[in-house]
Symmetry: C2
Subunit: 349 residues, 2 copies
Amino acid sequence: MPAEMQSGFGASGEDRGARVTMSHGGGGALSREIVRDLLLPAYGSGFALPLSDSAVIALGRGKAAFTTDCFVVKPLFFRGGDIGRLSVSGTVNDLAVAGARPIALSVGMVIEEGLEIAVLGRIAESIGRTASEVPVAVVAGDTKVVERGAADGIFITTSGIGAIVPGGAFGASRIRPGDAVIVTGTLGDHGIAVMSERAGLRFETPAVSDAAPLWGLVEKLISAGGVHAMRDPTRGGAAAALNELAQDAGVGIEIDEESVPIRPEVGAACDMLGLDPLSVANEGKVLAFVSGRSAHRALEAAKEHALGRNAAIIGSAVSGHPGVVAVRTRVGGRKVLEMPYGEGLPRIC
Amino acid sequence: MPAEMQSGFGASGEDRGARVTMSHGGGGALSREIVRDLLLPAYGSGFALPLSDSAVIALGRGKAAFTTDCFVVKPLFFRGGDIGRLSVSGTVNDLAVAGARPIALSVGMVIEEGLEIAVLGRIAESIGRTASEVPVAVVAGDTKVVERGAADGIFITTSGIGAIVPGGAFGASRIRPGDAVIVTGTLGDHGIAVMSERAGLRFETPAVSDAAPLWGLVEKLISAGGVHAMRDPTRGGAAAALNELAQDAGVGIEIDEESVPIRPEVGAACDMLGLDPLSVANEGKVLAFVSGRSAHRALEAAKEHALGRNAAIIGSAVSGHPGVVAVRTRVGGRKVLEMPYGEGLPRIC
């Protein structure tokens, strides 16, 4: 471990050295650092760079996308979804934003002894139902059981293979100043829904997770043309996704806060909890960078899909301030949208 | 959940219904039942049948194998390996026995808060080193952190994609009476090594795990010709693998106990612990069913490889007693080698 990494890894004065903290799993700067500085050098050069959520591999004459995600959400069931729906949606969406039609999923489960069989059955059915919405086949799986207290209910790791469609292989490197930033719907729904459930918060209109597989919507966006890059803003929310893209693309990004679609109940909950909806996790939204002249056609294409009705253009890529995301606030000010550092909302996915 | 499953799923008189037990994760009959009766019906028809460890999917003009495995071994480090080496070996070996050259791996980690960064680093390096032995690239990953007490150190789920080689797509359906059963080396090493470590047992010659990626060895076997089916006897050992193959192929299997290679220290430990080495997990062995006339050529090919030096022909497929594995014991008797039911050695992989 290189010395300059020590601080980021939370080194302390303890004899036994630095330890993993919740913040290393938050999807923000610390997560990125552990991958870049510890895992990548250990795994060797094959690992996908930039640090997007899927890798492109050559298979015969075609190109496939390959991705994996672990799900540790707490509680297992929440308004709008459950760990099963989440685990299929997350992996399908990673493939979709890589421009890949999902072909096959695998599902690995680590189960805590004592989990009710009926609960496992509900989760498995949710996995099957969500996969059928895409549709994509669950073709492989593994199941391990650990003693009571050695896990928390169930953890699920899904992996997926997708076939990259013609014109696919989108990525940060294709982003150009002048590109419009489209979001396919309201932000923050998933994070607030899970958080409310966990904290036992009661709102008049409760937040509902947006967990959904987005291949159908993404296919419409791609068909409209002009798409340069897509990202699903999960852990760390739009703030993490936009900062990663700005850094990887070497462009600046300007976001117009007023144009960002936020449900009133999510906005109210964020105000109460002191959260920025731009930093809250989504599980059924895509951020797309689209060439300026294709932007309105792409927006209309998104709006035609049931999961994209609230789509909006929320900003653009600019040549100024490369690597930095700036927000024009509702009151007319400007602020930098920071990369979330550690763990805002633990175990949100 | 169909009523006839209740008993198998360990239903009790409790109000809240049946619960998952350690035995559901043991790789034996109960593991098979939870997959067949609960998960498969929920996931839909895409799931690979028979219940082998990998699925074959069409990708462009080629065929690929896709597999996933969860690793929860305790302790994380043991003689001959660690959870990182295990997680690469297990997935590579599932691909190899499907006749697939490993192309890409993904690594998903669920980490307990407080794990030493140095320990994570050692595991990651072991992953990279083991992958480079194949060689196969680790191309994608995900990392989640859960609170202290919500996991046990680290759980790793690896998935793999492989390209099925010409003449590959081996499987139980190709097994014919008269096929020889080849094992590529000594049985029981991994299970006894982990068990000894965990129980703090001291032997004069300690058992060493065989955890190793076997693509190179399998490639030699395939080149020798005549291979009909292969399986890596992990959880549940050779007993589980042979019973599954006998059932799926609809043939009987005869094993000659005396010809099964067992290290003396493993045999002694099994005697002491009351275990049958045929039911103990391996992580670096292949069972191959090879046409009778190719058997000796295949055996020689295996022996030429460093990981196959102790290979032996240990029995054959027969037309009698379909679905049943019979053992000729050292003292000249005969017994049925049962499918392990539940959990012999928990958290062995």
